[in-house]
Symmetry: C2
Subunit: 214 residues, 2 copies
């Protein structure tokens, strides 16, 4: 096996290290965060760091890196308190990636990428119309990660929308039915297919599939 | 589209809400965390919350939920400072899921699941032999998330091992070549296939694939 120690990693070329360390923790979620400023300027940006924080209350988090953060997303969230999280689907990967381009401040990525703004139930921030799973979120708190000067933003899920056909009777959303993408590293877009879903594991009992009959 | 508000979500049955909110943020990484206590008792447990924190220094994080945390993983990490993160591959999903069963404290999940311990380069914690991407990690810090009493653990990546053939010349690890899994919700295991990888996005320029020729 190839082996890198921490000092090997430290001495790597910067871009090589970014590619390596961003891909070694496994697949990441693929979402578009959309916001609107107080002066009605919209903004949408690809994020690979959105993750589950808790179910009750329903909360998610994401990491902001000061060096790579889309400039307007965090400013708008702090200014207005609201943002939306929209799944990236297999048909949207080029548009989603294009949102990472450094546009001028007064240009909305919505206009530049073909992604469409959608407003639902009087929520302040725009959703991405093309997304088939989307959430309206409210800023709750932030935690400064001292080790590398990044920020974990924690938010409440206030609205959740999805295409009805992707939900199982027990609440679970089957993401491959939605065409949701996973991100490999910084710039790889992968389409997952469900292999299996298992019932609660118990000591000494064989794992049972939700789908396969005994 | 199906729509849940925050009060709808709050009033859901607990298990239904767990399934729904754990799947709505998108795919999660699929890893086994392995530890060893001071008294040489090993432990391995499935985690879907490992995520990238930063590349320089190379760090990852994961969320511990007090109600669902495997009891020994965190105790061993605090006691010894070390743990390993091992990718779950397509051939290991049943064994990985079985590690979530509540075994007695003096039973190692390694013995119960067919996952094998492996010790590399004198690192204190065991790796999972079957994993083709694995990291030796050192505890750095923890952040108490006040909103739901969970903990973000931040750790340094001190060793990184992987099968050489999965690395691109620019450092990136192609996870579908490794057979790495993504997790859908709490108990769904999906196998991603790379659709494309894109070069750095620039305003007004068409997105360029790493693979497709113009």
């Amino acid at each position: 096996m190839k082996h890198y120690t921490n000092s090997d990693i430290k001495n790597l070329d910067k871009l090589f290290r970014l590619n390596l360390i961003n891909s070694c923790t496994g697949y990441k979620s693929a979402n578009l965060l959309a916001t609107k400023s107080k002066s009605d300027q919209t903004n949408v940006a690809v994020f690979n760091s959105v993750h589950h924080i808790g179910s009750n209350p329903a909360m998610l988090g994401f990491i902001l890196r000061p060096t790579t953060v889309p400039r307007n997303t965090f400013k708008n969230i702090k200014e207005t308190g609201f943002f939306t999280v929209n799944h990236i689907h297999e048909t949207m990967i080029e548009q989603a990636h294009q949102t990472a381009a450094k546009y001028e401040n007064d240009i909305s990525e919505f206009n530049q990428t073909g992604l469409e703004e959608e407003y639902l139930d009087d929520f302040f921030a725009p959703y991405v119309k093309q997304s088939s799973v989307k959430m309206g979120c409210r800023y709750l708190n932030e935690y400064h990660i001292l080790e590398n000067d990044t920020i974990l933003v924690v938010a409440a899920i206030e609205h959740l929308y999805f295409e009805e056909g992707i939900q199982a009777p027990d609440g679970w959303l089957r993401l491959d039915d939605a065409g949701t993408i996973a991100i490999n590293g910084l710039d790889g877009y992968a389409l997952p297919v469900l292999l299996d879903r298992f019932h609660y594991a118990r000591p000494g009992k064989e794992i049972k599939s939700f789908f396969k009959k005994e």
